[in-house]
């Protein structure tokens, strides 16, 4: 690698988070949002759940955040509102990041999808749904990503025991179906 990164044409050299914050504030003029100041110093916004589509499309089109790096959630059980849904965006032209968060209640949590803005977000939203049970309204194929289909729980919720709740249930059901179909395969008939 060369010692200095090549300059991108038209990319203003941003230093620190002040340039990012100003750019984000300009892009979101007129949309209610709150700046929060997390310990890591990243530019972070808290928005209303209803404003997700507006904020995300402005961040993409006006502030140049062209990549969604992840979507996840924080479970604040037993506090309410229980979940904080987090999006993090990267601008490959300005080389900076922004984080957006919104709070959703613990009872049937759902937020709008942003897969129409970043198609790759579909996987992140599936994972978030799988692990936290947060539904993304408008997601075309919102099904489990890591856990098997038919699994009933959401493992990263705070009220989920880490050893699981009947972790072998799906396997046993599959095994019983298989044995009913073909009793030859059982190894212990005695």
């Amino acid at each position: 690698m060369s010692a200095t990164a090549p300059e991108r044409a038209g990319a203003p050299a941003t230093s620190g988070s002040s340039g990012t914050a100003a750019r984000v504030a300009a892009a979101l003029a007129g949309v209610p949002h709150t700046l929060v100041h997390p310990a890591d110093g990243m530019v972070s916004l808290e928005i209303e759940t209803a404003a997700v589509n507006e904020v995300m499309s402005r961040l993409r089109d006006r502030a140049g955040f062209d990549s969604n790096t992840f979507v996840t959630a924080v479970d604040r059980f037993p506090d309410e509102p229980r979940f904080i849904v987090l999006w993090q965006f990267l601008s490959t032209t300005h080389n900076d990041r922004v984080r957006v968060q919104t709070r959703v209640p613990g009872d049937a949590p759902h937020v709008p999808t942003i897969t129409h803005l970043w198609i790759g977000t579909a996987y992140f939203e599936r994972e978030c749904y799988d692990m936290f049970g947060i539904r993304f309204d408008g997601h075309a194929g919102l099904k489990r990503l890591l856990m098997p289909d038919g699994y009933e729980h959401h493992p990263l919720r705070k009220d989920f025991p880490h050893q699981g709740i009947e972790p072998d249930r799906l396997y046993r059901e599959w095994d019983n179906r298989r044995r009913e179909r073909s009793p030859l395969r059982t190894e212990s008939q005695t």
């Binding site: 699981g164 030859l184 059982t186 212990s188 008939q189 005695t190």
Partner: protein
């Protein structure tokens, strides 16, 4: 580590013909154990090293790692078995022709290891009859070679023809489908198997 009893310790009141046939069959079986490499995580790397030229399990007749279960004798479960993968592992085991054996390589497959977790099978003996357990995270190839040699000694102690002549043990035979339910040497499920342990006895089954 104590070694298993030699083969001739059991040859007391059996006939010459049967014991010699047993010896011949066991000699053939133990020296051509073709492994089914079920490399599920980092143990798979040690398994590759074991199969490769440096540790060379061809010395024990086990170098022919087949990726078709139809051609395998010993299934080496190397790594962390998740419940999602458990169905596939069980299917692979069922597709292997008898006689067949299972080696649990590494602590993950032996007991779940450090993954005391909702997604990991806490020991593959919950779904498979295991013959040899190999501790280690991952175990060195030497340890797995030791397991193979122990499995060879275990095979030496088997009595396939005696079981065949007894008839009753082989008697798990389905007249309707004309197929054996259970091979003569088929390993017995351990006490952790779900057939033996009632569901309410499993601490993980709490609702």
């Amino acid at each position: 580590m104590g070694s298993l009893k030699p083969a001739d310790a059991h040859a007391t009141d059996e006939g010459f013909f049967v014991t010699q046939l047993d010896w011949l069959v066991n000699w053939g079986r133990k020296n051509s154990m073709w492994p089914m490499p079920l490399g599920l995580s980092c143990c798979g790397i040690e398994l590759m090293a074991m199969i490769g030229p440096k540790f060379d399990i061809a010395r024990f007749g086990a170098e022919a790692a087949r990726f078709s279960p139809r051609q395998c004798d010993v299934m080496i479960v190397a790594g962390t078995l998740t419940w999602k993968m458990a169905e596939a592992a069980r299917l692979i085991y069922d597709q292997m022709p008898d006689p067949k054996w299972v080696v649990a390589m590494g602590v993950c497959s032996s007991s779940g290891g450090m993954y005391d977790s909702y997604s990991v099978v806490q020991g593959i003996d919950m779904i498979l009859p295991v013959d040899v357990y190999v501790p280690g995270c991952p175990p060195r190839p030497d340890a797995v070679i030791d397991a193979l040699m122990k499995l060879q000694k275990k095979i030496e102690r088997e009595r396939p023809f005696q079981l065949l002549l007894q008839g009753d043990v082989v008697g798990e035979y389905d007249q309707g489908t004309k197929r054996f339910l259970r091979a003569p040497n088929h390993a017995v499920p351990t006490t952790r198997s779900h057939e033996v342990l009632p569901p309410e006895g499993n601490p993980r089954s709490k609702a």
